[in-house]
Symmetry: C2
Subunit: 306 residues, 2 copies
């Protein structure tokens, strides 16, 4: 069981109604790999950082058994930086700064030992970077999952379409699904997106849960109702990492197992949002994850004879 992910490893500077941070560890590949590795999956990152990326963060990722042989460090470059401020309801945010830095000319290189990975998770990045990683894998992975966002639809639609038609699972949020399909109904949106390539579509609805579509089948998992959401940053990536990681850990890619994978992704995402950045995921123990999964089961389990 192995999972390779490509995505940002970044500095985030965040402000929520509950507090603010200096530059802290963030990025899609960071959350994805931490979630996957927590599930006992051999996990590797393909990404790039600058010489300003602290040894401390490298050590943290390594301590989580994340393989960094695919993490390029450009000594005289600067790490990708994102600064954002969340509104009071935490459902929307303003981007205050985006500095691409070393990401601007990023040419991903998949290490030799990762060219037979079982699951490939293409985190939110330029579609041509995602495509380049997919093309470097010698044997087609058993599962390829892709995450993207509206920015790439606006600016690199054609490139996105060429990579999307190669993947098994697309993971996007509700607004992005509507934009991509031109359909308001999420049911119709998923159907249309399935004609673009992915056999399976996950539509993330933030605090309102996530929908899993495949052929005529639909599964829904709510987000865990939390007393407090502290910082939503990384929730979507954690979800995607938990979903892909669970499938990698079980090597069972059936629809029934994808349902469980959605629950794992949702449970892990519910942990991420409890503190700033990766803090909460970093402290997560097997026991607390099990307790969280149990709460999930209680939340949506019922018996009904028809």
């Amino acid at each position: 069981m192995s999972l390779l992910t490509v995505g940002t490893v970044a500095f985030d500077k965040l402000e929520t109604p509950f507090g603010k941070t200096d530059k802290i560890l963030g990025g899609a590949a960071t959350f994805i790999s931490m979630a996957s590795s927590l599930l006992g999956v051999k996990t590797g990152i393909v990404s790039v950082v600058g010489g300003d990326f602290p040894e401390e963060y490298i050590d943290l990722l390594k301590s989580k058994n994340i393989d960094l042989s695919g993490l390029e460090i450009i000594p005289n470059g600067k790490t990708f930086f994102w600064e954002g401020k969340y509104h009071n309801d935490l459902n929307s945010r303003d981007t205050l700064a985006t500095e691409l830095n070393v990401l601007e000319n990023f040419e991903p290189k998949v290490p030799e030992q990762w060219k037979d990975c079982k699951v490939l998770m293409l985190g939110n990045l330029h579609p041509l970077v995602q495509k380049s990683v997919l093309e470097q894998i010698d044997i087609r992975p058993e599962l390829v999952v892709l995450d993207t966002m509206n920015f790439w639809m606006d600016h690199t639609w054609d490139e996105l379409m060429t990579v999307i038609k190669e993947v098994d699972v697309l993971s996007i949020n509700d607004e992005e699904a509507r934009q991509m399909s031109g359909e308001y109904s999420l049911q119709k949106a998923a159907k249309k997106i399935m004609t673009m390539g992915p056999k399976t579509v996950i539509i993330k609805k933030g605090e309102h849960g996530a929908l899993l579509f495949q052929d005529e089948r639909v599964f829904f998992a709510p987000a865990l109702p939390l007393e407090d959401v502290f910082d939503p940053t990384g929730a979507g990536d954690t979800f995607a990492g938990g979903f892909s990681g669970y499938l990698a850990s079980t090597e069972d890619y059936s629809f029934e197992n994808m349902k469980r994978a959605i629950i794992y992704g949702s449970a892990l995402a519910s942990v991420t949002v409890e503190k700033f950045g990766t803090d909460s995921l970093n402290e997560l123990t097997k026991e607390r994850l099990d307790e969280r999964l149990k709460r999930f089961q209680d939340l949506i389990s019922f018996e009904m004879k028809l």
Copy 2:
């Protein structure tokens, strides 16, 4: 098994992105009683209409086995009228007209034969009208469910609090729960509302489903993802009627059975929104309801060993 409801029986005039209507049959008690009666429950209405209320609508309700002995008809009065226009996303709407008419001086009278009803569903109305109905029931019903809205919180807070402390279940939407409790987190909101009287709180989130809270327990049911939502009018009332009706039909008021009741309410609400007003509920057969319940079960059923 018997359910009595008090609420509006009304004329609605609706405009959605898909079409518009003249005055059609609407009102909380109409949807509640149709949902409850569909589940085989002996169902009665306490309400008032004017001399302009057509015989055809009376016949329709009677044909659904709804007891109208508590429906007062004021020959020289006019029936309550509401006109609304939905925005493109169907999640918000503008009220274009509200004419209270015969509702302005409504003094509800519970017929003798209903003074021992098992379940009482207090539909959205002035809290003193709700209270008056509750006080006319001789033997405390086994379950009292109350629905209300922000209007009554704004204008009749004290009266609302006196009736809320007498009920078992409160059913409101997410924004109303936030307003009532002063808490943004729905988890916290439900906890606070439970200190105001109701042991059980249902928070309706429209297309995002519904949460059921009791003590420390939470259950979540999504709304069924539909290809098209045509007209959301009456969805919340249908949900409340299906929930209360299912409990009345089974006479089992446990938390486990309330979960099933939520599923029934959601399934019935998903039927209501498919056509204008009561049209879709009117045509609903047992077979189609079972098929809808089956889709619900598929949507949220999963197996996970922990």
